[in-house]
Chain length 288, copies 2
Amino acid sequence: MIDSSSPAEPLFGTLAIAGVGLIGGSIAAAARRNNVAGQIIGIGRTASRLEAAVDAGLIDTGTTDPAVAAEADLAIVCTPVDRIVKDVRILASVLGPGSLITDAGSTKDSVCKALTDLDGANGPAFIGSHPLAGSELQGFEHARADLFHGRLCVITPTENALPDHTARLEQFWHALGANVVSRTPELHDQALARTSHLPHLVAAAMAGSLQDSDAQFTASGFRDTTRIAAGDPGLWVPIFSHNTTAILAALDRLQAKLKEFSDSLQHHDTCALQKLLEEAKRNRDGLG
Amino acid sequence: MIDSSSPAEPLFGTLAIAGVGLIGGSIAAAARRNNVAGQIIGIGRTASRLEAAVDAGLIDTGTTDPAVAAEADLAIVCTPVDRIVKDVRILASVLGPGSLITDAGSTKDSVCKALTDLDGANGPAFIGSHPLAGSELQGFEHARADLFHGRLCVITPTENALPDHTARLEQFWHALGANVVSRTPELHDQALARTSHLPHLVAAAMAGSLQDSDAQFTASGFRDTTRIAAGDPGLWVPIFSHNTTAILAALDRLQAKLKEFSDSLQHHDTCALQKLLEEAKRNRDGLG
């Protein structure tokens, strides 16, 4: 257990965050509040945005030059999933041996497979992370120090990961308030396909098939079920592309359940329909 | 326009509400706040619940005997859709000529078809209503006088409806704060199949296919898209049963859109995927 009230040395001397948006900014805010790092360096592509993040008190230094983060003990890449591998490589080329790099992406398998050589044996180590927290909002202006509080963070060490690195990564997320579980990248992607990526796809399909003339007839049910369809397509296309196989498998699974519903409707089998709705309610109520 | 601040005569002398739950109770609360009726009679099946609704100040009189409502100028049936026709018939047998009966059910076609003889020529008239407001909560304890404020209420007069009756029904919902549109029962059911009944079915299918081991990986996306699956199966089975044809047509339409998504995934067509997600975002953002 981390005692975040301790005035002791921070867990990490220097924390580097590549991509200071909602997630990166919230990591910075949470790290600062919980004394997780001696200093926080933000790395980005737009100098004016980084200056604004410094002014907002989220990061100590903002830079467009990854080499400035050479002394970091921990670097976390919070860019869209199609940029993670490239951004990790850039950081790996400047960080020293013993340092640890992680990410905050929604897909893990292809990223971790592409970075297996970063096992810490001869330089920085990479271990994947996925904090299950976010919002339709974008930008560090919406960053919150409590964004990860009580949320799950899945870390995905591969068999090459050193136990010490895995333990430090776990400590990091704990210190930010998250509950941490460890899964293989494959199992992570399969579970998230079912619990996040498919719901996004279905919400988008539902919103996408809305006729203009139906808009006035939408109430809270339609709005709740399609809220996530307002998410940024630029973030979601790469997620879908990285996890295609698992998402298609999850869709098949949903189709089987939809067929149970349509069969019960076609056969006017109210008993079967009642059972299906009761199972759904039980599962949903179980989430609290 | 109704001036709800007017100290004038209420629109209706006696308002009878059959089924004093969330919707019936909110109608009572809104009617009282807006001086819509001289007195409000609640009709139900459980005397103790009706007494409690009187004690809560929602209704003036509570009774299990519909005959007590004989003097009502307007009666509104707020029972589940599989009980509406029967409950309207009971009220029609006790109310006088010139009186108007409506309902608050989520499906309109089968109800209105079953009651076409109640055209007001020789007794009470029936015209269907569907206020698009509600919640997973049940019971008059959750009633709110502002539940209909700014919400849409669809009224579904058939060709037999007298213009004066339609106008009075419209005035009633306006006085409760709702925006009123008029549609045929068929068009109402087709639109609501797409905007309410299908989203409910899909949310239930998604919640119903959740594996126990996946529950920990659910975050706000899954929770938002499945929230309505916690609704009462006892209310939704009749809705699905009453609107089967339109719901199956809406499901076919959604399936076509889901196929566009799965095709784009299978063919790794990120351009098509981007367009699909942009269309969805545009539609969802348009709902505000």
